[in-house]
């Protein structure tokens, strides 16, 4: 009997407690920069697409929501012909970001992407590409890779020595 009265009293005193509810649309939680939300494709400092179409993100994706087709431009530089993410499947695990060798695919702290039409959740490359570099500033894959593309030969990358002449004995 006493415990009943006591539990009613405790419940009653909750009247004077602070309410836990976060009034969401008006009052938002602060998200950290590492929050895994919407996926974007970033550009390098020279405004070129960072994505080289290696398919690693599509392979890493546990729900198979990424699809892309790689192609090459006239300089031999790889880029995706199309890049499509189905956000109605995406679970925001961030594996694609970890798999990406060129920092192209990144997750940003935006999660408010609700839609009335399911088809609107399929994002094409134009929707995904942003103008900036995202979390990794100043990185340009083609400037540091040893690969020869149009406008940059072997040994011309940053921190790269000229190629060794294997036909010569001189140091």
């Amino acid at each position: 009997m006493f415990s009943i009265v006591r539990s009613m009293w405790i419940t009653f005193m909750h009247m004077f407690h602070k309410r836990e509810t976060v009034q969401y649309p008006e009052q938002k939680n602060k998200l950290t920069t590492r929050w895994r939300g919407r996926i974007v494709l970033t550009r390098d400092p020279d405004k070129g697409e960072r994505c080289v179409g290696c398919y690693l993100c599509a392979a890493a994706c546990p729900v198979d929501c990424i699809s892309l087709q790689a192609t090459e431009d006239e300089n031999g530089r790889r880029y995706p012909e199309f890049f499509r993410i189905n956000f109605s499947r995406c679970i925001f695990c961030g594996y694609c970001e970890e798999a990406c060798p060129t920092y192209a695919i990144q997750l940003i702290p935006d999660f408010e992407m609700a839609e009335y039409n399911r088809q609107n959740l399929v994002y094409e490359k134009e929707d995904l590409l942003i103008d900036g570099q995202g979390k990794y500033q100043g990185y340009n894959y083609y400037k540091v890779a040893g690969l020869a593309i149009g406008g940059k030969g072997k040994g011309e990358a940053i921190n790269e020595d000229p190629p060794v002449d294997v036909k010569s004995l001189l140091p």
Binding site: I4, S7, M8, F12, H14, H17, K18, Q23
Partner: protein, 320 residues
Amino acid sequence: MEESTVNHLLIVVGVLGGLLIVAPGLIWLERRLLALWQDRYGPNRAGPFGVLIVLADTIKLFFKEDWIPPFADKVVFVIAPAIVMVSVFLSFVIVPFAPGIIVADLNIGILFFLAMSSMGAYSIILGGWASNNKYSLLGAMRGAAQMISYEVFMGLALMGTVLLAGSFSLHDIVEAQRGMWYVVPQFVGFVIFFIAGVAETHRLPFDIPEAESELVAGFHSEYSGMKFGMFFVGEYLGITLISAVTVCLFFGGWLGPDFLPPLVWFVLKTFAFIALFILLRASLPRPRYDQLMEFGWKILLPLTLINLMVTAGVVLALKD
């Protein structure tokens, strides 16, 4: 003669209209109060403090599919929710809201109230039976057992006040409390009546016939749309009824200091009890079915009988 008829009609319409406003209002009140006691906000978007949620709920209920399952006993299925509404509304006939504001001052008022609240049990039994569904039937059986057993000492708990006032009319009982509210000499009777009232309206923690965590929704599992709405309204009006009757019997009805009109005193007291109902819901878990029956028959019934005997003895001794 003419004027009194008009007056009477006004009272009837006023009580009916007032109750129909109170019932959905209570849904909002309950949700807000529960939220308050659980550190939440509850409905607070539609209109000031979210009161328009009531309107939204009502519209939703009206436009829901009013479905009768093909395996149900159709006639009984339709009648059952009406019984609870009608019996609860009829019970309000004997409640004196203020001096003169009473639909019918029956000299057997309390007996009428008890009879009508027993009628409410039929709606549970018939509703559960007609649904032709195992969970509904289980709920109905529990409801029948619970309401019949709690009916017994609900009536007996009132007899103490009837003895003290010497009348079955609620108006006379309230008038007899001018000196002292009956909650003081009849504290045991009050507590037992209130517990029985909670069980009678099958509110939490005694919502055994409904028991949504065990029986889907108990006796009204198969109901939808406005038929479900009628069960709902019946339940909330039942709360109001038990609160109003408790106030009349034990807390001096409309009596109170003169700075507020009698009707306001009555409404204030009634709302305090409605809030107590909601607090009970917020704080106590549901007992097991057999625990409920045991508590009723082994503890409350003997207590009620002792209370009645002692009251009768004291009244008899003071009379000489």
